[in-house]
């Protein structure tokens, strides 16, 4: 990619960040936050977008952001009150600005009507305060008030501290040129001269702002032929000299075709007000005649020496004037190539300095990070295999090899954690899209909605974040479209007109939990059940709990396009949502209370790459149980185990009885359960907080394992979350705790009609273990 195109990519990325900042700030203001820094940040966001857009000549974007910026500047300055009405306008403008950004990026078009309406509203807002907004003349320095300050040269003091100026002083020092003649020279009208007389007497402020007289004179030389004379008459005696003061002045005769006064003024643009400047077009007399006592050769030498001095890189820090002449002339002898010549190599020290000063972030191709993560994954596996081989050799645990391996393991783990952290990002990057979504859906549906977001800083793997966007969008849309009532309905139900949709993220036991809740009407259970019956998903006689009915909406085939708008409550494509969450190793639950709203709870792994697991043996198979789900492990005593019905067993753990589930049987590894007293029970807690004791034959130990997808080359396996590779190089399966906690269908009852799923390919298809909700 050519560098400019790469910067353009950066620009659009940055725009997204600025848009988020803008929206977040406006929302905070809407919420009553009056921190001036928020207003500043909001202004800066639009300002930055405009700046970059200008650089890329994105005119529509520049135009709109300019209007927007003007309004924000007035708010920032306190000229406009940011009341609720204004903030609504600003928020909508932010949406339009986002449209402009995306149109500029993707080559699309912006709704011109909406954009210009918004621009007009912003302009009206800006002009409404009477000031008419920012006067952007594009030519501001013309308004700059230039106050010539005359210097009494007779008692004018000593030379400037500036080294170039000092150099000049050293060359032509003592040459006095009162310059009064030029000042009085009339500008001839009938025959515009080719020559300008410029008198330039810097004041101390010029040097304080790090301007250099010599450089300005050189600039003058770019306009045409120039002859410069130094006026050092103001130079005081050494003992009276203040090294910080300005004592020198110059006269220059500039000759060349078509030189305008404005061009000369432009050279001195930056020092106006910090010098005495007098520009006069010459009458008939040639410049040489004006130069009393200084010959042309001397003048040329001044320019040559300026150039030489500059080439020799006069140090930026100004030296004290008295010593300057000698040093400067020495430097003047040394000539060097202009600084523009590209240096091949940077010296290491400067590079280090640059690093130190650079922002503390870098942007890296995701591919590189992923490659690194893969490699670290392989490293972990390799290290585990090495450890196992060493153990097999019968080396003592205290041997230096074993101890070295321990260190290696520690290091490997640290590397892995660090690498994983690279990919972690706050969920904010997804959440920040939703305020706009909510505004738009609210506008479309005529509902009044307030979006509350919590825990935006919660971090999770980038892959997870990216893949969260669609399902969350879907659910928020559903929450407003189907969950919330109309303002009238709400009033009738004794609720505030404005409905609330809440989006919250938090970390809970090594997973990220995201909740989407609304205070709407809740699931219409009779309706949902009827639909499921109508679609043949359940039999009419099925006796389902409220929870089970709510979870019907996740069934494939529950909703189809034809019924989307017809469904009260929810159900638009929730099976799709559920599947995408499951593909991330996540789970989705719904809880709903009629008339009070619904809450969807997503629980997702923080990373898709590693897992802390307990390695166990069941029926000759090695399995890994996610450590986060395990509360404790215990050796069941015969007296604690009770039969419950024909097939089920429970175990008494302290005061409660929890289901005892033989993993070997539930995964189909064996048909006969060995006596619980011969195995180990893992007390686990599922997502919903329910507990179970999972029976395994033995525990091998705890280990961090690299998660390997089964789906990549195969497909999801019920009861199994993923696979990993253990130290012996063999694949071990990672248990899906929630799935194995769900009883098998023949144990739970078969009231629901089984769908037709016959055919060769479904032989041995999973039937029971996918957890509901």
């Amino acid at each position: 990619m050519d560098p400019l195109a790469a910067i353009k990519v950066t620009f659009f990325q940055e725009c997204e960040e600025q848009l988020a900042e803008l929206e977040g700030g406006l929302l905070a203001m809407e919420g009553g936050d009056h921190d001036p820094e928020i207003v500043n940040a909001v202004f800066r966001a639009v300002h930055s977008i405009k700046g970059g857009a200008g650089a890329f000549s994105l005119e529509a974007l520049v135009r709109f952001s300019h209007v927007f910026e003007t309004a924000l500047d007035l708010i920032r300055g306190g000229d406009i009150q940011a009341d609720q009405e204004t903030l609504k306008l600003l928020l909508r403008s932010a949406d339009v600005l986002a449209d402009h950004v995306r149109a500029a990026r993707d080559g699309g078009v912006v709704d011109e009507g909406r954009s210009s309406a918004m621009a007009e509203a912003l302009e009206a807002l800006a002009s409404g305060m009477g000031g008419g907004g920012e006067a952007d003349t594009g030519d501001g320095f013309d308004d700059f008030v230039f106050n010539p300050v005359s210097i009494d040269m007779s008692d004018a003091p000593a030379p400037a501290d500036d080294s170039v100026a000092a150099l000049l002083a050293s060359i032509t020092g003592g040459d006095a040129d009162g310059g009064a003649g030029e000042a009085d020279a009339p500008a001839s009208d009938d025959a515009p001269s080719q020559t300008w007389h410029v008198r330039f007497y810097p004041q101390v402020g010029l040097y304080q702002k790090a301007n250099e007289a010599g450089l300005l004179l050189r600039e003058l030389g770019r306009l045409g032929e120039v002859a410069v004379r130094l006026d050092a008459s103001g130079l005081p005696l050494l003992q009276n000299m203040n090294p910080e003061d300005a004592y020198l002045g110059w006269s220059a005769d500039l000759t060349g075709p078509g030189i305008e006064e404005s061009a000369i003024r432009e050279v001195f643009e930056w020092v106006e007000g910090d010098c005495y400047l007098d520009i006069v077009r010459e009458g008939a007399a040639p410049p040489v005649a004006q130069a009393s006592g200084v010959d042309a050769v001397g003048d040329v030498d001044v320019m040559a020496l300026i150039r030489a001095a500059q080439a020799a890189e006069v140090p930026a820090a100004a030296a004290a004037a008295p010593t300057a002449p000698a040093r400067a002339s020495a430097e003047a002898k040394a000539t060097a190539e202009p600084a523009k010549a590209k240096e091949a190599a940077l010296d290491a020290k400067a590079q280090a300095a640059a690093r130190e000063a650079s922002p503390q972030t870098i942007r890296v191709d995701l591919e590189r990070v992923d490659r690194l993560i893969d490699l670290v994954g392989e490293l972990v596996i390799n290290q585990a295999m090495l450890t196992q081989r060493v153990a097999e050799c019968g080396l003592q645990r205290a041997s230096s090899v074993a101890m070295g391996l321990d260190d290696l393991e520690q290091l490997t783990r640290e590397i892995q954690d660090s690498v994983m952290a690279i990919r972690a990002q706050p969920v904010k990057s997804v959440f920040q899209r939703f305020p706009r979504l909510v505004r738009e859906i609210a506008a479309m549906t005529g509902k009044e909605v307030r979006l509350i977001m919590d825990g935006e800083g919660t971090e999770v793997d980038k892959t997870v974040i990216e893949r969260l966007s669609d399902p969350l969008t879907h659910m928020i849309r559903n929450a407003i479209d189907h969950g919330l009532e109309t303002p009238e309905e709400r009033e009738a139900a004794g609720k505030p007109r404005e409905g609330v949709v809440r989006l919250a993220a938090l970390h809970r036991s090594g997973r990220i939990v995201i909740e989407i809740s609304d205070d709407g009407r809740g699931i219409n259970r009779p309706r949902v059940k009827q639909i499921a019956v109508d679609k043949g998903l359940i039999s009419p006689e099925a006796n389902l709990s409220d929870d089970e009915i709510d979870n019907l909406i996740f069934m494939a085939g529950f909703s189809t396009a034809a019924t989307v708008s017809d469904i009260s409550g929810r159900g638009v494509g929730m099976d799709v949502v559920r599947r995408s969450i499951q593909s991330l190793g996540g789970r989705i639950n719904i809880s709903s209370r009629p008339g009070q709203g619904s809450t969807f709870t997503l629980s997702l792994p923080l990373t898709l790459a590693v897992l802390d697991g307990m390695v166990v043996t069941v029926a000759g198979q090695t399995l890994v149980a996610p450590l986060t789900a395990i509360i404790e492990s215990l050796q069941p005593k015969a007296c604690d185990v009770r039969n419950l019905g024909p097939n089920a067993q429970v175990i008494a753990i302290r005061d409660t009885h929890v289901p005892l589930i033989d993993i070997g049987r539930s995964l189909g590894y064996r048909t006969v359960t060995p006596p619980p007293t011969e195995g180990v029970a893992l007390l686990v807690e599922g997502e919903g907080g329910s507990r179970a004791a999972l029976m395994v034959d033995a525990i091998q130990g705890q280990r961090q394992v690299v998660i390997k997808s089964l789906e990549a080359n195969y497909r999801p396996v019920p009861g199994i979350a993923a696979a990993t590779i253990l130290g012996d190089g063999r694949v071990a399966l990672i248990l899906d705790i929630d799935a194995v906690m769900v009883p098998k269908p023949h144990e739970g009852g078969g009231a629901i009609a089984a769908p037709a799923n016959g055919g060769l390919d479904t032989v041995g298809a999973p039937t029971s273990l996918a957890k509901v909700g």
């Binding site: 998903l537 198979q621 396996v717 019920p718």
Partner: protein, 165 residues
């Protein structure tokens, strides 16, 4: 696989032939990644009988399909003599468990005979054509249907899970 059969006469393709029991089969060499000896697989719960389990292929989890069982023949009891042909099917890698690899053969596509109609459904699902070679008959295998398709099963699981509730 269809395209192999449909390529115009005169095109030559390379095939890897292998043996299951007393029958000989072949697959397009372009689909074959590598051939390796049998290593014990980790069995998958409730997998179809033809899925032997998964093995570690340099960090990736590779499912092993017992091709004999897949085609309705006797289930293979794998031993060190058996061979895994690692193939690429769509975007997935799948190991095919066979008795032995025989040969690399080059044939003209025109010499591939369509599978006769009398064959049963299972055969029709996997055998895309027949080759006659030095008095032997070699069945050209289509890999597309080796792994069970997902959609039907997914919906099956979905509904079944509701059943379980």
């Amino acid at each position: 696989m269809e395209d192999i059969v449909q390529r115009k006469t005169g095109d030559r393709i390379e095939l890897i032939s292998f043996r299951i029991g007393d029958q000989e089969f072949c697959v397009d060499i372009m689909a074959v990644r590598e051939i390796r000896g049998w290593t014990p697989a980790t069995s998958l719960p409730q997998a179809p009988s033809f899925v032997k389990g998964v093995i570690n292929l340099r960090g990736a989890v590779l499912p092993i399909v017992d091709l004999a069982a897949r085609m309705g023949m006797a289930v293979t009891e794998p031993s060190e003599r058996h061979v895994i042909i690692v193939t690429r099917i769509c975007d997935q890698q799948v190991g095919l468990l066979v008795d032995a690899v025989c040969d690399i053969i080059t044939v003209e596509t025109g010499s591939i005979q369509q599978t006769p109609d009398l064959a049963c459904d299972v055969v029709k699902t996997f055998v895309k054509g027949l080759l006659a070679m030095e008095g032997r008959m070699i069945s050209l295998i289509s890999l597309d249907n080796v792994l069970p398709t997902l959609e039907i099963e997914a919906s099956g699981a979905e509904t079944a899970s509701i059943l379980a509730a």
